[in-house]
Subunit: 220 residues, 2 copies
DNA sequence: ACCTGAACACCGTTCAAGT
DNA sequence: ACCTGAACACCGTTCAAGT
């Protein structure tokens, strides 16, 4: 690992008080991760950027982990807001459902730092549950479950335990998002194209005919 | 981040030569990550565990990154082997295809350290291409593409660019694997149960009827 | 192809003492 | 609710000099 240098030209330091240091710390953490990646995130660096002593940070977050947890929590809040907005913007129903998938992937691409912290194995899932905002990671998932229940009531999608179906859908969009973030997608297939294809396949599957689906015939 | 202590009781150190130090380093790295997570991986620690000086490691890997890259490469090799074995074990065709999905998720759960390094954003995808084993990350993907081409030729799955379809399938299994590794699955829905459900949905989709799929009717 | 030992520029975290 | 300054126990990486 090459030693990272980030001795930024520290901003003019106002003496005492900072308005909202916790908030500023989260913002600075996100910015640092955006530009240099998670390993480059350093409490000392955050302090320097904010013109605040390193020890001051411990007034607001007990840990580096706690700071990362706050980033994750903010991410989950932004994510569920984005999902709700997409669903309502498309007027609910099946269009709303597909818009949520697209919005999910878009969120990951537009907030890669948040997303990486949320799902990169950096924050232990246990830590997340103890954040000030309760059940923050459940909210985004609940939006998805609600949408599925709605479509099931309209008989637009198959019956079955909505939470299990939601986990499946989550896996698809999460997979698309992660592959995109990791640069695994070839240039000919950008993330939104893959998500469009995925929406099509989520809807109708890949089997070639209903007969084949039910296994009533065994072609060839 | 709590300071990690790993001063293990260094093994009896044979003077000089180690048989296969590079291989031993990769093994030790995997073991460390397994037990203490990626952040706890330390070149100094690896050296200590192997009874070898820290500087000796640089004879074989230019970097900590390079060591992680070797872990990723080994993971991709193991993964494609597991996929091929699963496919052949199920006799190819659609059963083979679904067995691959199950095997993929199982691989991630059985080799979480490899998998996390492969897809955790730790190894830059560029680095992977310059490893001694060429196109190592492409192989596993190619196994999937081949399976899709086979099923398309038998008219068992829909036509279309096989590589795009393969990316979709990859996203699904990758998503299931990541959610499972991150502890996002509720205890009532273990990874293999979710993957079984996913196989069903991959096949037949979630839309309630062919008419609804084609959008020829607009129920309710 | 390995070793020792020293060094450099970093980390997270804690403490004592201030305003 | 912030500050300074010192300290402790770590890092990755490099270098010089050996066998």
């Amino acid at each position: 690992m090459t030693t990272v240098r980030r001795r930024a030209p520290a901003r003019p330091r106002r003496p005492y008080h900072h308005g909202d240091l916790p908030r500023a710390m989260v913002q600075e953490a996100v910015r640092t991760i955006q530009e240099h990646g998670i390993p480059a995130l350093t409490l000392r660096g955050v302090g320097a950027q904010l013109g605040v002593s390193r020890t001051a940070l411990y007034r607001h977050f007990t840990d580096k982990q706690a700071l990362l947890g706050a980033v994750a929590a903010e991410g989950f809040r932004l994510l569920s807001a984005a999902l709700v907005a997409a669903r309502d913007g498309a007027g609910g129903g099946r269009p709303g459902f597909e818009a949520m998938g697209t919005a999910y992937v878009r969120f990951a691409l537009e907030h890669p730092s948040h997303y990486r912290v949320m799902f990169g194995g950096v924050v232990r899932s246990g830590d997340l549950k103890q954040l000030s905002v309760p059940k923050v990671d459940v909210d985004a998932f609940q939006v998805l479950v609600d949408a599925i229940v709605e479509l099931q009531q309209k008989h637009l999608i198959v019956p079955g335990e909505p939470r299990e179906l939601a986990l499946y859908i989550w896996a698809v969009v999460h997979g698309v998002a992660m592959l995109a973030l990791d640069g695994m997608l070839p240039p000919q297939v950008p993330a939104d194209a893959l998500m469009a294809l995925a929406n099509e396949r989520i809807r109708s599957g890949i089997a070639v005919s209903p007969a084949a689906i039910a296994g009533r015939r065994e072609p060839r």
